[in-house]
Amino acid sequence: MANYMGKGIKRVEDPRFIQGQGKYVANLQIYGMTHAAIKRSPYPHAKINSIDTAEAEALEGVLAVFTGQDMIDGGVGPIPCGFTPPDIKLPPHYSLAVDKVRHVGDGVAVVVAETAYIAYDALDLIEVDYEPLEAIVDAKEAMADGAPQLHEETPNNLSFTWPIGNEEEVNNALAQCDHVVEVDLINQRLIPNAMEPRAAVAQWDGAMENLTLWTTSQNPHTIRLLMSAFTFGIPEHKLRVISPDVGGGFGSKIFHYAEELIVPFCARAIGRPVKWVATRSEAHLTDAHGRDHISRAKMGMTKDGEFQALHIETYANMGAYLSLFAPMIPTALYHTLMAGLYKTPLIYGITYGTMTNTTPVDAYRGAGRPEASYLLERVIDIASHDLGIDPIELRRKNFIQPDEFPYQTPVALIYDSGDYDGVFDEAVKIADYDKMRTEQSSAREEGRLVGVGVSGCIEASGAGPSAAVVGLGAAIGLYESGAIRVHPTGKITVLTGAHSHGQGHETSLAQIVGDELGVPIEDIEIVHGDTEKLPYGVGTYASRSMAVGGGALVMSAEKIRDKVTKIAAHQLEAAVEDMVYDRENGTIYVKGAPDKSKAFAEIAFAVTLANNLPEGMEPGLEETSYFDPPNFTFPNSAHICQVEIDKESGEVALQDYIAVDDVGNIINPLLVEGQIVGGVAQGVGQALWEHGAYDENGQLLSGSFMDYAMPRADGFPGIQVGRTITPSPSNPLGVKGAGEMGTIAGTVTVANAVMDALAPLGIRHIDLPLTAQKIKAAIDAANGGGD
């Protein structure tokens, strides 16, 4: 048994999913349950003159209709923002709009009815008198004089400005450089689209004034805290938040959503359980979107390609309201990654966070880091074409070297460990890069548009040291909790503050505890996602669960081993120093006398009897720990891919994709590979297909899967995955986190390949997504203007 680390064990949670027994919020049935539906604005920007709910209330089967004013009158407060740079201006964000609606999909009223069908019928009977206002959707234009104003609190629609570095130094250096690459880039808006739409069920116990909320959240404790301290006014011990099986999050289920207030409000008001389940169209309008940056980058270098200075200006679209962590994404999680894998000595970046008549934007898989990697790695690729230096060679010239760690970048972070040449060596080998280039040359001679794309990305994961993140402006400490409860028979329940919504924690965390204690994973059950069962936990995002949540469990396991060892020593009448805890077999024996031993389960039972414990020791075998890591972790990667473009149609075929990642030590390679491949697919989706597109009037053009192009099975070749390992010194397991690197690297790798294919035509850059029509237009323009 034991020795689970590094093994690709199949997931212990899967039997319920493959048999249709997943416990998703939408599956919940409670006696007396009612159904809520939300009336949403069809206007991007409008004054609400009046809301007439009488006809809806009169419909048979309708129990109640509430508006935003009803919720304010009922004591429900606005949703706060949890990341506040010094100059931030905070517009209020009510769960149902009261004065104005500010994006299509902004909620204005809620209906509670006996069935969801009736609730939707009633929505059609609510009369809202809107006075349409002019709308603004572009992050940069929003700041212009005369632009429509969203909030009184944010003049010129500017919520915050976030600079880092010394601009004058950077400008001076740029002026001295042999070569400066300057490029305007758009990182387009994405819609996260976890396959499970968001849902909430609330049950109010009027006698005890207890509320239970089941919600599709990546972090139930955060939701409970926010509801208690800010939004719902319910004491924390009276509120139980449960996030059972959650069908994917990708960041979009971190935030405190309006429906987490609307549904409990309704349940309390009518005294019956209330369920709300988003439709996909509703998800498109109300799940926090991702990305949406307009940037200008300038990078200076010597003629040999040594990076000297980087200047970045970014307009980040926040949408109509500030979602929970929205300002953190294009700032602390963005500019701080602009050093990439490189020794660029001078970096200056500034972000303007602006309000527009669009759905709020927040963290989406990678959160700031894909935007940083896209910008940096595109700029470097352009430089490689400008200078005529192979893109891998150019990158290698500038790598931080293995002996330079820990490495202080000019943008605040201290990198933990890495061997970037090693990662690239492995990628070059798996891809057979030289052969790829040779084949590309012959393809080009035949007039075919074949491109090879390369990227080297880094992310700051395992968030993170609480002091650092709070120092940067976050209103949340980013440690994690982990408790191990040993039952009298030696079976174990593990309580983690991390939350699995696809990651497979029930397997990987069991592997950690199994190894730490020498207990078979069949004897271990992982419990997560319920504030009443768990110690306070932070939740799962930013690829943090193994690094931080795993770290907490290692700490608790150490405490368990320590206590078990003391008891064994006592019962075997040996000195504690002479005891050996055999983690392979889960036995504790006297050094040199393996027959003098106790099994783990024997000690567990002995603790329960408690008649023969060391002097002064308490009964019970349960330990809780909180791990607050000393630093972030820094996964890094070398990805290479090949594309061919259909010259006639502009369609891109992805032919080959190689992903080599250093995510530190690996607990379960099967799950890590799953994370990488799935992440790459999302990255490729951004490169080629996905776009949360608004028209200039603020209507969402990609309001359903009919218009939002999700990656499908036939869009991909087999993705080859390789790895190198430099353990992270920032946590006891040496892991770095694997959840986001695929996405971070996937987009820019494919973008670089497409631009490489088009390079012989003199095409320098096309903004994402690289759709057939954009590519075709660029080809025609390059060939002399088409028609």
């Binding site: 997931r11 493959i18 249709g20 027994q21 997943g22 990708f250 992440g679 899967f705 999700m710």
Partner: protein, 156 residues
Amino acid sequence: MNISVAVNGKSYTRDVEPRMLLVHFIRDVLGLTGTNIGCDTSQCGACTVHLDGMSIKSCTTLAVMVDGADITTIEGLAPKGNLHPMQKAFWEEHGLQCGYCTPGMIMASTKLVENNPNMSESEIRHGLEGNICRCTGYQNIVKAVQSASKEMAGGD
């Protein structure tokens, strides 16, 4: 109106509104919540079930229209206590992460393989065009279908 259907081998007669979608009938009337809803435009395939031996999308079918039909959902794909080779393959090959698309994916895949036991990788990828997964990048789903094809052909 009254409809009678056999679901997973069991007969049910229920009074339903004409507008009730088959997926709501399966989930809310019969309480079989393994069949998930992932979209409203017949794109994502999370709601795939077998209707008279064919895979279909239960979000784009009215319950009243399938009166008299024989329906299989993920809960009835294999006899109780057993796993269908496709379920087993999804587990073995790590063909799922969040699990939400999985029932639909498995139901669609079993019919693909029954209709063509010798699909190429490309045929599998095209065959799954009506099922969206956001987690896996499809790679291990394709592997699972390949592996299940072998086992289903082997007849064990």
